[in-house]
């Protein structure tokens, strides 16, 4: 402060006599500047940021307090329900349905996206049609449709039209879980294919030209040049898809599959007094999954960021240190 005041008082009025110099802060003379040059530059301070942080912390602490003081949370019951075998069974189903659908939808999504981008007009229109249908229909409708597939097509099979046929009873081959996974996957493939397509389109056309000009075989152009670069933008969007899928799997309840949400719903009607702890238990498990997925995502993204920036992205620990210790010299990356 005092420096600024001092430099004001010694300011020289421009010889031209215009009064621009009066309001505008005048630069200190060069001798002074040279003295300043030897000192470390003070980073810009953000007082508003700290005030907002303080407000948020106060509100958060208030809420956190109610978690302990409000007896309606019934934490002791949460403790017993969270490892209840029925809940764990529901959990297993949720994980299984989500996991399988996630893998199927990534593979399927890549195929549908490739079909969409292919030069073959039949493939690309079929792919477009598929995405159009399954993005339009609500998942619950698809699931209930599949559930009633036995009524629509009592037996399913494949064969040469009007020629020999291979057929089986619909109900016997498709278990409830299979139907559930098929339903989830059908919808997810449609969304994922668009995510993949966007990723593939985001890669610079020069990359494929370079690969072509080197004579790299078609398949390897895709697996080694195009896809790894596309995955950089596909991964975050796809993880979003998986988290959506995790939540969408709660719809399986409507086709009489007892996933985590279904189990909680059932137990809630059997033990109406425990409804709050049961909901807390479900929330905790969903939060745990999402966190695990988030951590995995972080490391996958780090992997695909190779070469994208001049520096490797920071690990969470490094970022935390940097956020807290704002005064530490920046730019030091291990």
């Amino acid at each position: 402060m005092s420096n600024i005041l001092r430099s004001r008082s010694t300011e020289r009025v421009p010889a031209t006599g215009t009064d621009h110099g009066r309001d505008a802060p005048t630069a200190p003379d060069s001798a002074e500047l040279e003295r300043f040059a030897a000192r470390p530059i003070r980073p810009l301070r953000h007082p508003a940021r700290w005030i907002i942080t303080a407000l948020v912390v106060v509100v958060a602490l208030n809420f956190a307090q109610t978690l302990f003081t409000n007896p309606a949370w019934e934490w002791s019951k949460v403790g017993t329900w969270i490892v209840n075998p029925t809940i764990l069974k529901g959990l297993r189903l949720t994980l299984l349905a989500t996991g399988i659908s996630a893998v199927v939808s990534l593979a399927g999504g890549i195929l549908v996206a490739l079909a969409r981008l292919s030069k073959n007009p039949v493939l690309s229109s079929l792919s477009w049609l598929y995405v159009w249908v399954f993005r339009s229909l609500p998942l619950i409708l698809v699931l209930i449709f599949l559930y009633n597939l036995g009524n629509l097509y009592p037996s399913i099979g494949i064969g040469i039209p009007f020629g020999p046929q291979f057929q089986v009873k619909t109900v016997s081959v498709l278990s409830d879980l299979t139907l559930g996974v098929v339903g989830l996957s059908l919808a997810q493939i449609a969304y994922t294919s668009e995510v993949v397509r966007a990723g593939l389109l985001s890669v610079d056309a020069g990359q494929l030209e370079a690969a072509k000009s080197l004579g790299i075989p078609r398949r390897r152009q895709f697996t080694r040049i195009l896809l790894p670069q596309a995955l950089r933008s596909i991964v975050p969007a796809f993880v979003n898809q998986i988290i959506g899928l995790l939540q969408a799997s709660s719809l399986l309840f409507y086709v009489s599959l007892l996933d985590l949400f279904g189990v909680v719903q059932n137990l809630g009607s059997t033990y109406p007094t425990d409804i709050i702890p049961l909901l807390v238990v479900a929330s905790i498990w969903y939060l745990v999954f999402t966190s695990v997925i988030g951590v995995i995502q972080y490391y996958i993204e780090r992997f695909y960021a190779r070469g994208a920036a001049r520096e490797v992205p920071l690990t969470p620990l490094q970022r935390l240190r940097r956020a807290v210790g704002t005064r530490r010299p920046t730019g030091a990356i291990r």
Binding site: A210, A211, S213, L214, I216, P217, R218, R224, I225
Partner: protein
Amino acid sequence: MSTALEIRGATKAFGDKPVLRGIDLDVARGSVTVILGPSGSGKSTLLRAINHLEKLDQGFVRVAGELIGVKVKGDRFVELHERDILTQRSRIGFVFQAFNLFPHLTILENVTEAPISLARDVAESREKALILLDRVGLADKAAAYPRQLSGGQQQRVAIARALVLEPELILFDEPTSALDPELVREVLDVISGLAGTGTTLVVVTHEIGFAREVADRVVFMDEGVIVEQGTPAEIFDTPSHPRTREFLSRVL
């Protein structure tokens, strides 16, 4: 003197806009040919047509006597399968104005990608890549990623990448146009170093000094045709065509 590259009647239009209007060109083996011409005259299109990144409407390209991208069937040319074209391209190097290095692969991986994908020996490919990186002065950058390099360094890697398959012909499309002036020299020096090694070079560039020093032949293109060609002295000192003279007066 045998012909490394032969172009006959090359014709190409984008929509109804003719871009190449009957190009005939012969390039001797081991020689350096510089292609000059105003923007939009079709230089890039011609270069890309040579390794079939761009399909010709009519005409043909032969490299070392072999038709590129097409074969004769009955009384006409038919396009080859992509697989066969890729094999042909592996014998023709291409260096892009925008480098087009693979950003997610290290410098070494950029250079070894093509030989490894063509089922060549991995250890041998590495060794050869390191020798080439050394030749372009970047042996110490083998483990770096392209974005950690300057433009000039990236383009030198791109040249090493094009060299690793030992192509008989290398095409350069304005290799120094994306570079700051002080980086142009290091790339041109690498290209000059390739002259006289037996590899045939075709270079689209606006670097007149380079053309004068290194080129065996200079080809001047305008509006999709070759207006005139000759030795650097003929083209730069005694251009016969008014359009060449006009162009040179603008760039010299």
